[in-house]
Symmetry: C2
Subunit: 436 residues, 2 copies
């Protein structure tokens, strides 16, 4: 490309970074960090910061380590504090301190304050740079404050009394259309929800699951307003927490990430695997009860995984649908008889259908009508039990005040394995004459 | 209570409904519909509508059927259209028409228009009552329009040209602080994202996963602005979609709800159960290969579920953590070697730990050192394979353009069952001398 063309591309990139920071960030995330850093290094600082602050923390850190030092300092100082803090927290102590001491003293102080909040606390999600309004102002004075505010994209501001205690909120929409002479207090609305800076992020999500707020005010232990959690941080936290059940249901920890270290993963997962081992021994004990029958008919051992596999999967389907209903508040505990009746019905119909297919397969393999009737009837029974258990496990966990996802899968597998083995081998023992 | 007290309670409830509609709605959802309807029936209409429109659709419908007819008509007409449409869609054709004909003609027309959008389309989530601004206005004129707008809680307004085509957006924060004489176009920002009314709700969520917008403009096929999806609807949709993976990974449909009919559930789940049955036969075939060994040592049949159960659970943990990483965009496809290496490491360490416990249990039960060495070594191998497979299955599904959750659990179980059975029975056959 000639120089004129290159300049045009650079101008276009700058416009793109400024106008579509999220699109630009998603594209940077799909490049190698070296290419991303090279691309950003040639852009003006004010354009780069818009996209850099909305990158995922891993990519943001990788790029920061690769751009020129001056740009790195500028990004840490000018980006939203939540973005800078997320990256600073990823460095070790000495690297973090080195980076902080290079910054303007006041910025460094603010970032250090935020870093003092524990990881996964509300304080870490907070933007401290949104000043509250005083209740005694007029609308015109409040608009004057808003004009000087360095934050954009807000829907509301929060109102405090002389001691700094949070007392209300003002929608900017109301502020924009009110007479300038009116006292602010006439358009103040009650605060819908509030979180303490030291509260865990889960509390932020419980609030958000009850009401769709766009900004959440954060207070300290004295009840003083210290900042807000802005919309982007609320949304990211909601998404993280809502997807967590996939992990907790199989006994992986809420804190584990795809790129956590192996050691961290082992420490979190192993206890549940050991518990799962105990339940597996229970299932094995059921099989052991019928060792005599298996010794006579080894075909039973071959077909055992078929019955357990089907009831396990049917149970997992019932569990998943019921659990999601609880998470989305579509059902509450008092719906349990309806949910259980539904899942028993599904288990029966699916059980009959799957048993028919199984019957054909087993007859083709063994030619034994006795074996066909044993496995078909066991399959129907096991799948009805699996459906009922799949519905009851999360409801029961909720009822006893536990997270309905926590290790539900391990509990359920135990039930479905035991039910599958017991019905299959039990019926086989009863009908042993037909197998001979 | 005396009359004065009763009046005070009623006034308090009215205030509560007006100021904390979400809290009130969550409480109504936990009551029986009869109690909820009775409580609302005694309140003024304008207070009731605030809480009713933010109820879950099932509860909203149950309460609507129980309050006096006049209140029901008022609620359908005055609530946000998205709430009324959600309830209308739950009635059958004739009941829906009866309710609509009782409403004001213009309101009924608007609701009918919305009902024409397919279920699960962006149009169904849309609020058509947010008029756009014309690009030619001044800031003062735009504020005048904002003053007459019947919607509250907005962060931005959208801008259209003379043909009604969407051309930009204005943050109300910018509008509030700009000089009234300025032309609106000087503070217009580019539109970050847009959705067609007929697009599926999944598209709405993909947009939201890339950028944390608070209002999403909706256009029709001609590119004309037809409404916005407001924040509450965006949030609810995000939560629904983010929690969907729990269902799809076990082959339950995205559309199934906890209270869907049994027939609906069977229709959606049965195909996957039949596919799962085929894979279960595959696992059984592996066991069948070793029928001779099992006939000699029935203890192997007893311990089969232990090996398969452990590798299945370890694989499910690896799958869950990897899948969530993909969903939250913490990892992308190019991270696969790191993720696989991590999960192989976790499988090895957890495998060694679980194998030790298993060895103790099996020795106590059987007293056979041969059996102990067979099951321990099989366990380690099976758990390493399970970890690698748990990481690779969702990454491979993504790589081929599929949803990484879709039936991942069924694919994985097949791998872990086959790996568990093959390693356990294979080693047992090789070391048959030590078992005797």
């Amino acid at each position: 490309m000639n120089t004129a063309n290159l300049n045009a591309v650079a101008a276009l990139n700058r416009r793109y970074l400024l106008d579509f920071p999220y699109e630009a960030a998603r594209q940077l995330e799909s490049m190698s960090p070296d290419d991303g850093a090279e691309l950003l290094a040639s852009q003006p600082l004010h354009a780069v910061v818009r996209a850099w602050q909305v990158l995922g923390p891993d990519v943001a850190r990788a790029i920061l380590e690769r751009v020129p030092e001056a740009m790195a300092r500028h990004l840490l100082a000018e980006a939203e504090p939540i973005a800078s803090v997320a990256v600073l927290a990823k460095w070790d102590e000495s690297e973090r301190e080195r980076r902080l001491t290079e910054l303007d003293a006041q910025v460094a102080h603010e970032l250090r304050e935020l870093l003092r909040y524990p990881e996964n606390s509300a304080g870490r999600l907070m933007d401290p740079d949104v000043s509250p309004l005083h209740a005694g102002l007029s609308v015109g004075q409040a608009l004057e404050r808003l004009r000087r505010l360095k934050r954009h994209g807000l829907r509301q501001l929060f109102v405090v009394d002389n001691e700094g205690h949070l007392t209300g909120r003002v929608e900017i929409q109301d502020l924009a259309v009110a007479e300038h002479a009116r006292p602010l207090r006439e358009i103040v609305l009650p605060v819908l929800a509030v979180v303490y800076a030291l509260d865990p992020q889960e509390d932020v999500v419980s609030i958000l699951e009850r009401q769709p707020i766009t900004e959440l005010p954060v207070i300290n232990v004295d009840g003083r307003f210290v900042g807000i959690i802005r919309h982007a941080a609320l949304l990211a936290t909601l998404e993280e927490e809502t997807s967590i059940d996939i992990q907790t249901m199989v006994g992986a920890s809420r804190d584990e990430r795809a790129l956590s270290s192996s050691i961290f993963a082992v420490r979190k997962r192993l206890p549940w695997l050991q518990i799962n081992l105990l339940t597996a021994f229970l299932a094995a004990a059921v099989v052991g009860l019928f060792e005599g029958t298996i010794a006579k008919f080894t075909a039973l051992a071959v077909l055992l995984p078929v019955v357990a596999g089907q009831s396990g999967n049917a149970g997992a389907q019932a569990l998943a649908v019921t659990m999601r209903g609880l998470v989305l508040r579509e059902i509450s505990l008092r719906h349990w008889p309806r949910v259980v009746a539904k899942e028993a019905g599904v288990g029966l119909i699916n059980g009959l259908a799957v048993a028919s297919t199984t019957a054909i397969g087993v007859y083709a393999w063994s030619g034994s009508l006795g074996l066909v009737s044993v496995i078909s009837s066991a399959m129907v029974i096991a799948m009805v039990i699996a459906g009922i258990a799949g519905a009851l496990v999360p409801i029961a966990l909720s009822r006893f005040g536990m997270d309905p996802a926590q290790s539900s899968s391990i509990v359920l597998t135990t039930v479905t394995d035991v039910a599958g083995f017991f019905s299959f081998l039990g019926i086989a023992t009863l009908l042993a004459d037909t197998l001979a």
